[in-house]
């Protein structure tokens, strides 16, 4: 199969999955008990005329299959309704500073975790069965089995409360005037250190284990034996021949992990009161802010969906064997 056909097939899959996703969220938020808009109508203070008017305005008097199409239409025009709590359109609440905050936190920790995980995985695979290998496996399993929020609490207890090295919460020091951008950046990074460390440590485990296993697979391939037979030294074999091939599967695996990373970020942001999307969703639950909840649900899912699609395309481009 050529690249073109693969691209078409994968795109069709993307569209179908997207519509299933939209349908899931429609049923989740419209049909289930606790309908956000129906809640508004339950208010006993509303007089009958207002109720009918409101019902018509919200489209709740229409049959549900028409509601479904209205839902999809609104989705494409970015209409997610108005947040109950923030009093602003949901899309404005999501696409703003909060998305940026999550992006910097998740981005930096993911990149760090990939680099550290790959280096550790390389060393462990090369020294298989030695102390370094067993030590790194134990280390990564330890952080892998740890609840992310508990690690955050420990980091706070040790580095923020006991040692007073880092702030306890927030993205910048409250009420402080920053003279210039660099002052602001310094303060921001200072606040980000602990949450980023937390999210990095949690992610290293799986990256390490995947890298180690793929590298072990690659190291048993014929072309590595050939490289050894040619008399290349260890470093050349490891970096020029083995690592390049082992890095390929990492592309898709990292994209698949994105959903897991967002879950981790939600808990991390809650512990550190980091004003990102994760904190926003945890808060939205307690404020019963259903339009906002729905908005974040759809935006994060679509983000992961698109990331996975792109990763598959990149992978297929890099490794022609995948286009079976």
């Amino acid at each position: 199969m050529g690249m073109k056909e693969y691209l078409i097939r994968r795109s069709v899959q993307l569209v179908v999955t997207f519509f299933i996703l939209v349908t899931i969220s429609f049923f989740l938020f419209r049909i289930m008990p606790g309908d956000p808009t129906a809640m508004l109508l339950l208010n006993p203070q509303l007089d009958p005329e207002t109720r009918i008017m409101l019902k018509r305005k919200l489209g709740l008097d229409l049959p549900w299959h028409i509601q479904y199409f209205v839902f999809i239409k609104n989705l494409f025009s970015g209409e997610f309704g108005v947040s109950f709590y923030h009093g602003k359109p949901v899309i404005e609440v999501i696409l703003g500073v909060r998305l940026l905050n999550t992006f910097t936190l998740v981005g930096s920790s993911t990149i760090l975790a990939i680099i550290i995980g790959m280096i550790l995985g390389c060393i462990a695979a090369w020294r298989r069965g030695k102390v370094v290998d067993l030590g790194s496996i134990l280390f990564s399993l330890l952080f892998y089995s740890m609840p992310v929020f508990w690690l955050g609490m420990l980091l706070l207890l040790i580095f923020a409360v006991r040692m007073r090295m880092f702030p306890v919460s927030g993205t910048v020091t409250a009420g402080v005037y920053h003279a210039n951008f660099f002052e602001y950046l310094k303060d921001y990074l200072w606040h980000m250190t602990l949450p980023a460390t937390c999210l990095t440590l949690i992610q290293i485990g799986s990256n390490f284990l995947i890298m180690r296993n793929t590298l072990l697979d690659v190291l048993s391939e014929d072309y590595i034996v050939t490289a050894m037979a040619k008399g290349l030294n260890d470093r050349q074999i490891l970096f020029k021949h083995a690592m390049r091939n082992a890095m390929l599967p990492m592309v898709t695996i990292i994209a698949l992990q994105l959903a897991f990373i967002i879950s981790g970020a939600t808990l991390t942001e809650t512990v550190f009161s980091w004003a990102g999307l994760g904190k926003l969703i945890a808060d939205a639950v307690f404020e019963r802010d259903y339009p906002l909840l729905q908005g974040i649900f759809i935006v994060t899912s679509i983000l992961v969906l698109v990331a996975n699609f792109l990763a598959d395309i990149i992978y297929a481009y890099l490794d022609p064997r995948i286009r079976y």
Binding site: I20, L157, N213, T266, S301
Partner: protein
């Protein structure tokens, strides 16, 4: 019976199956015993099962015994882990928490394995359009960040142990479904399935009598690893305040700890023990899961 063949007496038939199973289990145990990590995991798990079974005897105080000591007392011989904001004995709470974490972890993973296994077998066996539809639904569930779906579902269904089990199962079945499906795809091309078809076995019979027993070990090993994920998910949900407030779990203790300023106050004894318990139990299931994986997939054994 009208046939001339004398049917095998039921008792003998059952005894035969029993011996066959015993032989299998024995063989499995011999392999398992030589796995160091697997044995460590099993030991930790047995200790926690013991604690949860005898919780009322081990815990010196009840789950709801308030004001037995001043709130936030540090650890002492009477109160090994100190007390919480209501003056409850934290050691007793951690002991009782073992029950809920084990219960939810086990049943959530069981339900998830059941759903994933069923969909995987169905999808892989029938193929074609059914497979396409089921796999796209699986894809959709895979891209939804699990905690986001969990938060939404838990907030809508309400907080009870049953709902938490359902919520965790709904968010974790796709992994199992994918795995089982790929196994079924290769299984259904094997001669014994073709033979069953030739003899006239129906689809349902082939799926449940011939394919299911063959993917069961895979589902089981996956379920053991799933328990560790379910325990972490339960802890996360409870920590966010979406757990069952009527039953103390380790996550709920940590929720109260962060809600009552245990971090700002530096009350490490409130935070450390429940987390260590979660860590140990999750690690135990991971060790057991990997050990089983190694036995069931001989290809991995070299590593």
């Amino acid at each position: 019976m009208t046939t001339s063949v004398k049917p095998m007496p039921t008792l003998i038939k059952y005894r035969r199956t029993f011996y066959a199973w015993r032989r299998k289990v024995k063989g499995f145990w011999l392999l398992y015993r030589s796995n160091k990590f697997g044995m460590i995991g099993l030991a930790i798990l047995l200790i926690f099962i013991f604690i949860s079974l005898f919780a009322p005897i081990i815990a010196p105080y009840g789950e709801w015994e308030y004001a037995i000591a001043p709130p936030f007392s540090p650890p002492s011989p009477e109160h090994l882990f100190g007390t919480d904001e209501l003056g409850r004995d934290l050691f007793s709470l951690v002991v009782y928490g073992t029950r809920i974490s084990l219960l939810i972890g086990f049943f959530a993973a069981l339900l998830s394995a059941f759903m994933g296994g069923f969909i995987g077998i169905f999808s892989g066996y029938y193929g074609g359009i059914i497979d396409d539809i089921l796999m796209r639904i699986t894809d959709a569930f895979l891209v939804i960040p699990s905690i986001v779906l969990m938060i939404v579902l838990a907030a809508m269904l309400g907080t009870s142990i049953n709902n938490i089990i359902i919520v965790i199962a709904i968010t974790t079945w796709p992994g199992t479904a994918r795995l089982v499906r790929s196994q079924v795809l290769s299984l259904k091309e094997r001669p014994f399935i073709e033979f069953a078809k030739a003899v006239g076995a129906g689809d349902a019979r082939i799926m449940f009598s011939h394919i299911f027993p063959n993917v069961l070990p895979l589902i089981f090993a996956n379920m053991i690893l799933g328990i560790s994920g379910a325990i972490l998910s339960e802890a996360g949900l409870s920590f966010l305040g979406l757990g069952d407030p009527h039953h103390t779990s380790w996550g709920l203790i940590l929720h109260y700890a962060s809600g009552h300023g245990a971090i700002a106050g530096g009350l490490w004894w409130y935070v450390v023990p429940p987390g260590i318990c979660i860590l140990l139990l999750v690690l135990a299931f991971i060790f057991i899961g990997y050990a089983m994986d190694e036995i069931l997939n001989p290809k991995l054994r070299k590593r």
